[in-house]
């Protein structure tokens, strides 16, 4: 992999953001290097948190699954770029019976839409739309497939933290060990993070009950274990996934009680981790289930920074897709 020299200019070319599996290391760096300027917009002392980057553009948030965090984050990102926004919450069950996905998008596009942010319960939904329609499609989560902006904001948050603690403005994720804990099988967040983190040079270990941890992940160059202590031993980042309580009824684990016993991140289990390991979570948290309140609120957590950074990263993605700017890739050491 080529080292990116300081100040090198790169041009963004993609129309859509569907998944991190497709993106190159350079493209990941372009997004991460575009985000800080937008973080600065949100943090302006003047309180005027707006830039005219997408003025006059229409961003449609099209959500087939309930979502608060991701939807509001995209909505805010669009608003801070001065775009007009429209949010459509659709029950997937009714859509299944009526209009097809493509037909709905043809209708949205008939109103001159620029960006369509889609969240859907079926894997592949965003990709099949992107291949047929002229709009810029941003995948806000498709089934268990990908959730690219989540993994981007996660990588950004880790990088930001590393740079701050090391006092090195060019530090990257290279060589970091990231443990992702929980329901890997059903997690698009885990999948996108596997692609993103490994491309950025981190080592990833996936941990969860065998029933929720497909062995095929080892073929993607990550470690897989059901031993929590082994997973977090030496980890720089502990990424906790939300456990869905209803998995119990599908015979995927016996009880929350036993899940807690084996997989909860709390003061006790963290004894196996580095004292300064970061605690991350994509939200929403089941307090005291996958992570104890003490840890979730503790000094190592960057959970709310993830939320803050999410807006900036999504602003960066929208800017890149629509304006295809030249980006001075400052990059990170490889």
């Amino acid at each position: 992999m080529a080292t990116v020299s300081e100040g090198e200019q790169r041009v963004w070319t993609r129309k859509d953001l569907i998944g991190l599996e497709d993106l190159s290391r350079d493209e990941l760096d372009m997004i991460l290097d575009t985000a800080p300027q937008f973080l600065a917009v949100s943090e302006r002392e003047s309180g005027i948190k707006k830039v005219p980057v997408l003025q006059g553009r229409l961003v449609v948030n099209w959500f087939y699954e309930p979502s608060t965090r991701t939807r509001t984050s995209f909505e805010l990102a669009a608003k801070r770029l001065s775009a007009d926004t429209l949010t459509m919450n659709v029950a997937a069950s009714s859509a299944k019976k009526g209009e097809t996905l493509h037909d709905t998008l043809y209708n949205i596009e008939a109103m001159y839409t620029d960006i369509v942010v889609i969240r859907h319960s079926a894997a592949g939904a965003a990709g099949i739309l992107a291949r047929r329609h002229p709009s810029h499609i941003i995948n806000a989560g498709d089934g268990a497939h990908e959730h690219p902006t989540q993994a981007l904001l996660d990588a950004f948050t880790i990088r930001q933290h590393v740079r701050r603690t090391r006092g090195d403005a060019r530090a990257g994720l290279n060589g970091l060990r990231v443990a992702i804990i929980g329901d890997i099988a059903h997690s698009r967040v885990a999948r996108s993070n596997v692609w993103g983190l490994t491309k950025l040079g981190a080592r990833v270990v996936l941990c969860g009950p065998r029933t929720l941890l497909p062995g095929a992940f080892t073929k993607l160059g990550v470690d897989v274990t059901s031993d929590l202590r082994e997973a977090i031993d030496g980890a720089d980042v502990i990424y906790v996934l939300r456990i869905q309580l209803e998995r119990q009824s599908k015979c995927l684990f016996p009880s929350i009680r036993e899940y807690i016993r084996l997989f909860r991140i709390d003061k006790e289990s963290l004894k196996a981790a580095k004292p300064d390991a970061l605690i991350m979570h994509p939200g929403p948290i089941n307090r005291d289930v996958e992570v104890s309140s003490e840890v979730a609120d503790g000094p190592r957590n960057v959970i709310l920074e993830q939320v803050t950074n999410g807006v900036a990263v999504r602003m960066a993605v929208m800017h890149l897709l629509v304006n295809k700017p030249r980006v001075a890739v400052q990059g990170a050491e490889q």
């Binding site: 599996e21 996905l101 894997a123 592949g124 089934g143 999948r191």
Partner: protein, 423 residues
């Protein structure tokens, strides 16, 4: 009226014939095979292979109930274009073919609208519900050639056992759609690396293999004759091979997509690569080819499963299972099996004619003197590109669009009449 097919190379596996011969047809019968034969009409088959009309013992013609996908008329036209003169239709229509009247309906529609021979398979259980067996003696009496709940398996081993015993008493072969449905929760594709990457729910090979193993054990227990449909995995081939070596009365089929494609075809979420059983992995494709070579797999069937473009143009999870196959089967066999030298042309034609006909004891699949004049003429070297929009089938759901194949049907005669003739 007489027709002579001249200058072709005749391959008739039933009589071990493979020679340059003419075929003389008088009326609806084959008068004889010979040299320098004359007839009132002549078909020039120079450079072509002349073989028995192909036999496909696993198709879905969707009538009654789903005529927007296919009808007996359009399905038979697609079949004729693919070189087939005999097909066995599956009973998972709406209503299903689970009583004598429904078998007679299919037979009547075939008489009225089909250009080839349509042999109905009937359901093994009433309503295909897997609980009570159908009136198999009557089904047999009115022309059903097999019983099956294809589309789903019979979950209860008790019911399956009794169906096998009763079907055997009635002289009907049971066609097994082998799938342990309890192992599949919303499965959409093969379980493996690709399903893990795509986040799609996987259907493990064990789901098929458990059911194949159960079926051959019950065939041993009951002594009944069983046939395993659409074998897709290496493990299933191994189980069938094991059972055959022990004298169990089992045969099986595979479909062209299982020796052609892997689940890599799903990575674009192409719903035309979604079928049940699903596309597997490279090791399975290799095992299917090996099974076709060594006889573990008895025949090739298409599992022709039409669905409308609208039904397929949806999210992968929501798309129905199945692909059409009748118009691409011969081309795929020639291109994927014969040209690379895995099978001789004679072996390949046997797998598509005499072998399947024997499994269900159909009066088809051979060029016998005074036998039915079901004859296919195809150019094994002619190259063509799969163009779904030109299919005679009512549906277009193929993963082979744009693929260049060799082996093109020139004419298909059924009972001495042209069912298809290349323009």
């Amino acid at each position: 009226m007489s027709v002579v097919i001249k200058n072709g190379h005749v391959i008739d596996p039933a009589s071990n014939t493979s020679a340059p011969l003419d075929v003389l047809i008088i009326g609806d019968r084959i008068a004889r095979l010979g040299t320098d034969l004359r007839g009132s009409e002549e078909i020039d088959a120079t450079g072509c292979i002349v073989c028995p009309g192909l036999v496909d013992i696993h198709v879905h013609f969707r009538e009654p109930g789903f005529e927007s996908k296919e009808t007996i008329a359009t399905g038979s036209q697609a079949a004729a274009r693919g070189g087939f003169t005999s097909v066995v239709t599956m009973p998972n229509t709406e209503p299903p073919i689970d009583n004598g009247g429904m078998v007679e309906f299919v037979n009547r529609r075939a008489r009225e609208t089909a250009c080839i021979k349509v042999w109905p398979a009937a359901a093994a259980t009433k309503g295909r519900a897997g609980a009570e067996m159908t009136e198999m003696a009557e089904l047999k009496a009115v022309g059903a050639v097999a019983v099956t709940d294809d589309g789903s398996d019979i979950a209860s081993s008790w019911v399956l056992r009794r169906c096998l015993e009763y079907a055997d008493m009635c002289g009907l072969t049971y066609l097994g759609h082998c799938e342990d449905a309890s192992l599949v929760q919303g499965g959409a594709m093969n379980a493996g690396l690709n399903s893990t990457k795509l986040g799609l729910s996987g259907m493990p090979k064990a789901m098929e293999e458990i059911a194949v193993a159960r079926l051959v054990r019950l065939a041993k227990l009951t002594g009944a004759k069983v046939h395993v449909c659409h074998v897709s995995s290496a493990g299933s081939v191994e189980i069938v091979r094991w059972a055959k070596a022990r004298g169990i009365r089992v045969t099986c089929e595979t479909a062209p997509h299982y020796f052609t494609l892997t689940d890599d075809a799903v990575t674009t979420f192409d719903t035309n690569a979604k079928m049940n059983p699903p596309l597997r992995e490279a090791e399975d494709v290799a095992a299917i080819k090996e099974g076709l070579q060594d006889g573990a797999i008895d025949c090739i069937a298409t599992d022709h499963a039409p669905h409308t473009p609208t039904e397929k143009d949806v999210e992968f999870d929501y798309a129905p299972f199945g692909i059409v196959g009748l118009e691409t089967s011969l081309g795929l066999v020639v291109t994927e099996l014969v040209e690379p030298g895995l099978l001789t042309m004679e072996q390949a034609i046997r797998l598509m004619t005499w072998a399947p006909a024997q499994i269900l004891d159909l009066p088809a699949g051979k060029l016998a003197q005074d036998g039915p004049a079901d004859v296919t003429v195809f150019d094994p070297h002619a190259e063509w590109t799969v163009a779904p929009e030109a299919f005679l089938s009512r549906s277009r759901n193929t993963p082979f669009a744009g693929r260049v194949l060799r082996g093109r049907v020139k004419a298909t005669l059924c009972d001495g009449r042209f069912a298809y003739r290349e323009a």
